[in-house]
């Protein structure tokens, strides 16, 4: 469950380049739902996603993700909470191109003290599930956009996090791959995960699998 | 093999090499230098030697132990230092 109450986010507070990205956001997202944050570029979708994803703390207000109050969490605990709870799929994928596909996927496991053998096993399960076995040992910089996205999805799932966040996931994909992505999300929802997708792509916003659409305009959320 | 193990092997190899070199030197000390050490004592005492024979180009490099601070200047008013060997030695301390 995700709860936001009167959440504001101001960047560079007190400085000449101060910018308010979110205004008084109130939001509740139920567990095991698939939600779309819809809004134009610069509307605050990514900021809202970053707060839900425990990457940024809110400037004011209350934000609770999976039972933890984010505003009160020190950076260290926020990282631990994020590691356990959130799987993030970035717009730019943010894959390390020099590492192999398998190494990219198992990156979140390194600081947890998981052995190389165990990492390979866990990554292999996801690699096979997402159909990229033939690229397992390839450097990630040498694979296609669609395969990259599957690597990003696999990395987001490696710790079996209950919440998956995706920021403009179809921005660099064609229609076919976009539909494949959405189907993967639907399958994940069936396994009990909570999926939140930030997008203004009609392919996503008009998909019947989306339980709820949250419109966001100029940092303000319309929860109608 | 994981990279940490490979790296560990390289480090271990270097440590083993260093240890072997250390014991090699100890062995050479025992078998080489000790038996002939008394000859050096005889020569030093018998001739009243005060210095090792290293750089023979100037008095203050050949006999630094019995040179004084002005020795480098004694050869000629315009004599320059014997470089580079002269720069190897610090000035004697009285």
């Amino acid at each position: 469950m995700i709860e936001l109450e009167s959440v504001n986010k101001i960047y560079n507070r007190g400085q000449p380049n101060e910018v308010q990205a979110l205004y008084d956001v109130n939001l509740v997202i139920e567990a095991n739902s698939m939600v779309c944050l819809r809004g134009a570029s610069g509307s605050g979708k990514s900021t809202l996603l970053s707060i839900i994803g425990c990457i940024l703390p809110p400037t004011s207000g209350r934000a609770a993700v999976a039972g933890k109050q984010l505003a009160r969490l020190p950076d260290r605990f926020m990282t631990i909470h994020r590691r356990r709870t959130i799987g993030f799929i970035f717009q730019q994928f943010n894959i390390l191109p020099d590492l192999s596909v398998q190494e990219n996927i198992s990156l979140p496991l390194l600081p947890l003290g998981v052995s190389p053998k165990e990492r390979r096993i866990r990554a292999k399960v996801l690699i096979e599930r997402l159909g990229i076995s033939h690229r397992q040992d390839f450097p990630a910089g040498q694979i296609s956009g669609g395969e990259l996205q599957r690597v990003a999805i696999a990395r987001a799932l490696i710790n079996d996090q209950p919440i998956i966040l995706a920021d403009e996931p179809t921005a660099h994909l064609d229609t076919k791959l976009s539909q494949e992505f959405l189907q993967t999300m639907v399958d994940l929802k069936k396994t009990g995960k909570t999926i939140i997708i930030a997008s203004h792509d009609p392919l996503v916003t008009e998909n019947p699998a989306i339980d709820r659409i949250i419109d966001i305009t100029d940092g303000r959320v319309d929860v109608s | 093999m994981r990279p940490a193990h490979s790296f560990g092997l390289i480090i271990c190899f270097l440590f083993v090499l260093d240890t072997a070199l250390y014991f090699h030197v100890r062995f050479r000390q025992e078998t080489g230098q000790r038996p002939t050490a008394h000859l050096n004592d005889i020569v030093t005492a018998g001739l009243g030697l005060t210095d090792l024979c290293l750089a023979t180009e100037a008095r203050y490099t050949r006999h630094p132990a019995v040179s004084d601070l002005t020795t480098p200047f004694m050869d000629h008013p315009g004599a320059i230092e014997h470089f580079p060997s002269g720069s190897f030695w610090a000035a004697p301390q009285d």
């Binding site: 994803g53 990457i55 940024l56 950076d75 260290r76 990282t79 631990i80 590691r83 993030f88 943010n94 590492l99 990156l107 979140p108 496991l109 390194l110 600081p111 947890l112 003290g113 990395r155 | 994981r2 990279p3 490979s6 790296f7 270097l14 440590f15 260093d18 070199l21 030197v25 080489g32 230098q33 050096n40 005889i42 020569v43 030093t44 005492a45 018998g46 001739l47 009243g48 030697l49 005060t50 090792l52 024979c53 290293l54 750089a55 023979t56 100037a58 008095r59 490099t61 050949r62 630094p64 132990a65 019995v66 004084d68 004694m74 470089f83 580079p84 060997s85 190897f88 030695w89 610090a90």
Partner: protein, 394 residues
């Protein structure tokens, strides 16, 4: 395996893989770093070894040496000064000595010519043990040569040679023996002859000597007796055995010119490295840190990663540098520094010395090399790892 240990091994794996991905650059850094450490360590090992060798070989150096000084210059000492030592209690023997340098114009070599009355010297009667042949008897024109002197003269089987007196007349010597190879570091350039023969060669009057060697009854009284001698002979310079030995403790000090060059080169190299690292991480490196943080890596994990990277580079360079320095002195006789040490010398004694690399020296070089590098690489990583991951991956 313990998860904490496995975590560090994982981070080390990642660090090493990261270094290997940029292998050309990192191998270059390791090579330069190891080269600088090799330079400093070689110098340190060579000088420590020479100091240690000197301490061992010169342990039996004369207890007191008296030189006459005039206008700041050393000159021959009158033998009448021996009479003035009569009243000094504790002196066992005072022995005059003639010695000086002979410049061989043909080869450009400097020989140290020495004449002593061996019967008056400690161990004088046993000198034959160190000579392949016999010790030259007084007044017979004999000479025992150091090995390098014999080689330099190109005798080709001859048993005699001649040297010029100051008036350019020739004095002929007969070779009685060659000093043993194991005494090379003491005798390589020596030409030892009888006291009168040395006096004849240098045309030093009978009433003068080059210096006086004084032996005392009680070695613990050396300083006291030296002070008394200095009081009786105020125009002399009185050197004691501890002073002579102390020379070799400090002669290769860090303030000597060549040591400063080595040290400055090392410091300059580290300053350049540190400046390069401290000028900040590249955009790519910042992005990588941002991605890792978003994936759940903590600031401490990132710092540990950078620490392992730096330690791998610095540690490997340190071990390679020190090991090669040790091999350089042990098997190559410090051949890189030999031309510097020998300078323009024509006589080249062998530097078959056993390397001495004290734990203190190792620690000093480690502190001057590895620690600054760790600081220079981990500090910018700390600065960047504390930035928000959101900012890093935008």
């Amino acid at each position: 395996m313990n998860p904490a240990l496995e975590k560090h091994l994982n981070l080390l794996d990642y660090a090493l893989s990261s270094l290997w991905r940029r292998k050309l650059k990192n191998l270059g850094i390791i090579t330069v770093f190891a080269g600088v450490i090799f330079l400093v360590a070689s110098f340190q090992i060579l000088t420590s070894s020479l100091t240690s060798t000197a301490e061992t070989m010169l342990a039996k150096t004369p207890e007191i040496v008296i030189q006459k000084m005039s206008a700041g210059r050393q000159e021959s000492i009158p033998l009448s000064y021996l009479n003035r030592l009569d009243g000094v209690f504790g002196i066992r023997a005072a022995v005059p000595r003639i010695w000086g340098y002979y410049f061989d114009e043909t080869s450009g070599a400097n020989y140290t010519v020495m004449g002593v009355e061996r019967k008056a010297m400690p161990e004088g009667r046993r000198l034959e043990m160190a000579i392949e042949g016999s010790y030259p008897e007084a007044g017979q024109g004999g000479a025992a040569l150091g090995r390098e002197v014999a080689a330099n003269m190109k005798l080709a089987g001859r048993r005699t040679f001649s040297l010029f007196r100051p008036d350019l007349s020739l004095k002929t010597f007969r070779i009685t023996g060659i000093f043993a190879e194991s005494t090379d570091l003491l005798t390589a350039d020596l030409l030892v002859t009888g006291l009168d023969d040395a006096r004849d060669l240098f045309t030093i009057p009978d009433s003068l000597a080059t210096d006086l060697l004084v032996y005392v009854t009680n070695p613990n009284e050396i300083s006291t007796i030296a002070k008394k001698i200095a009081a009786r002979l105020p125009d002399t310079r009185v050197l004691t055995r501890p002073q002579i030995l102390k020379t070799y403790k400090v002669v290769f000090g860090w303030r000597s010119g060549f040591a400063s060059i080595c040290l400055l080169a090392a410091l300059a190299a580290f300053a350049i490295l540190a400046w390069d690292k401290a000028s900040g991480l590249s955009a790519e490196e910042k992005r990588e840190i941002g991605i890792l943080k978003v994936l759940g890596w903590q600031t401490t994990d990132i710092l540990t990663l950078r620490f392992w990277e730096s330690l791998a580079v610095a540690g490997l360079a340190f071990l390679i540098g020190c090991t090669t320095a040790y091999l350089h002195v042990l098997f190559l006789e410090g051949s890189l520094f030999r031309p510097v040490l020998l300078g323009w010398s024509v006589i080249h004694p062998s530097l078959k010395i056993l390397p001495v690399f004290a734990a203190g020296d190792v620690l000093l070089i480690f502190t001057l090399s590895v620690l600054p590098y760790l600081a220079a690489t981990v500090i910018p990583a700390w600065r960047c790892s504390t930035i928000s991951p959101d900012a890093a991956i935008k």
